[in-house]
Amino acid sequence: MTLLRREITCMWRRPSYWLVMAVLSFLLGWIALVMTDLLLAQQTNTGPLASMSLANQLITPFFSVVSLVSLVLVALLAGQLLSAERAQGTLVCLLHSGLGDMRVMAHKFLALLLLVVPLLVPVAVALWGWSGAAALNWPVVGWNFLAWLLLLLWFSALSVWLSINMSQPGLAALLGVLLLAVLWLAGQAGGGAEWGKNWLRVFSPRSHFEWIQHGIVPLSSLVFFVGGGVVLFGLAVMALKRLRVA
């Protein structure tokens, strides 16, 4: 049984995982339903021609909600992946393993991403429903998916790093959510400032996420998500190495 499979098996056998997934899926489904109602009401008022752009106006805000929900899930799961192992004392098996630090962390990281995958189901259902009501602009959907994926990778790396440095899973999850909220709000705070002076936005995942959502992929956003993700993952690997030879 590989480490990746172990993580997924353990999480799938936890009732709390299913409870959280059910709550989040219900939340996403509910939001999608409310948005669909809005689409149908607008179609009745403005006629079928206007509905094309309306459908696309729903996609971006919906993906923003999906992204935030999935990030909260990542923060909760990451706490269980490493901090919980420290708390239970099972981390010694990993520390005394013959696998390299990078491999251990890669398995943990992949497991975290795969555990978020079930959230794709309500997203797929919502998109399928909207595509029946109006023609969707698939490139817009693609940009939104890309923005979500990059944000997810970056935040997963951040959460894994927080988790390996904490011995309390609840605290790791809480800190992850708090950090996300601060960085997200930082992007909003810098929003009104003149370009060049709004430095807060450069450090906020929100700004980079929104640019990519609108089909703009500046180098700074790629550096932020990909470079930042790689650095945070590297820090997590180093933290594991430090724990191994304390």
């Binding site: 049984m1 590989t2 480490l3 099972t90 010694v92 098996c93 005394h96 013959g98 491999r103």
Partner: protein, 299 residues
């Protein structure tokens, strides 16, 4: 076999040998001659900070309290341990080690439903599954009932020919059966080495050599402690944190069992002139007594 009182450094040494702690200075090197190699060439592995995973592939460590992931079955746990050590799946090795530890019947039970004895067996199976050269066991039989402890001793006896085993223990009656060498630790250093035979003889015959023993308590004497001692043997002398009793090895074992949870941390031989020797280094004294016992028997 590693012997020593609490705080002697046994677990620290085992952790260092397991690669979980690196020494401030010096090196940890595993030098061995493979039994199946006629060329008799010695091989060696070095425990290095930058490549600790390579060291881990040749060693196995079983802590005193084995921690297992509760939601996995026994088979999944052992199979995962095999992967962690070698990076590969080895179904046959998992089957073999489950058979060795008599766990086939429980292979599909979640580990959270197992008793302590079976959990320790799963821990041992995890340690053995990659066929390590060096097997490190930190008081593996602590808390086990006599039946499971006996079973554990039987398994370890079978493993002696296949692995280099280093085990720490407080239980002297296991030594004669299991140990080839008995190393006594005190204050982080090796205080001496005993032959298992002398331990065995000492356990059974030293009653005639020494009758008075000093029992020292970490938290001082209480009424309960006094009552428990008096139920087993007479108290000869009382000190602020210790008593001198008239006892024998069999009764000492009972005293250790009864008084261990109440803070008993040292049992030293006692003469009228005072404790032997000073400083609570009871193992040195114990060693002296055991040697005297074995000499006495041999003459």
């Amino acid at each position: 076999m590693l012997l020593g009182p609490n705080g002697a450094g046994k677990s620290t040494l085992l952790n260092a040998l397991a690669g979980l702690l690196l020494p401030d200075n010096g090196q940890i090197k595993l030098v061995f001659r493979p039994a199946d190699d006629d060329s008799a060439q010695e091989k060696e592995y070095l425990c290095q900070r930058h490549d600790i995973s390579a060291w881990n592939r040749h060693t196995a460590y079983m802590p005193e309290h084995v921690r297992l992931l509760p939601r996995l079955s026994v088979h999944e746990t052992v199979s995962h341990a095999a992967y962690l050590k070698t990076g590969m799946m080895n179904t046959q090795a998992v089957k073999d080690v489950l058979a060795l530890c008599d766990l086939q019947k429980h292979a599909h039970r979640p580990v959270e439903t197992l008793s302590l004895g079976y959990r320790q067996r799963v821990g041992l199976a995890c340690a053995l599954v990659h066929r390590p050269l060096l097997l490190l066991l930190d008081e593996p039989m602590n808390g086990l009932d006599p039946e499971n402890a006996r079973y554990f001793v039987d398994i370890l006896k079978r493993l002696k020919s296949r692995h280099i085993i280093l085990m720490s223990t407080h239980l002297l009656d296991q030594l004669a059966d299991l140990a080839d060498r008995v190393v006594v630790m005190h204050n982080g250093r090796i205080a001496g080495e005993l032959s298992p035979l002398s331990v065995e003889h000492g356990d059974t015959s030293k009653a005639g050599l020494l009758r008075q023993w000093q029992l020292a308590f970490a938290g001082g004497l209480t009424t309960e402690i006094r009552q428990r001692i008096e139920a087993l043997c007479p108290i000869m002398k009382t000190m602020p944190k210790a008593v001198v009793v008239e006892s024998d090895p069999e009764r000492n074992r009972q005293l250790m069992q009864v008084l261990g949870p109440l803070g008993l941390y040292a049992v030293s031989p006692y003469r009228d002139s005072g404790p032997v020797p000073e400083g609570g280094a009871w193992f040195s004294a114990y060693r002296h007594i055991l040697h005297r016992a074995s000499e006495d028997i041999s003459t």
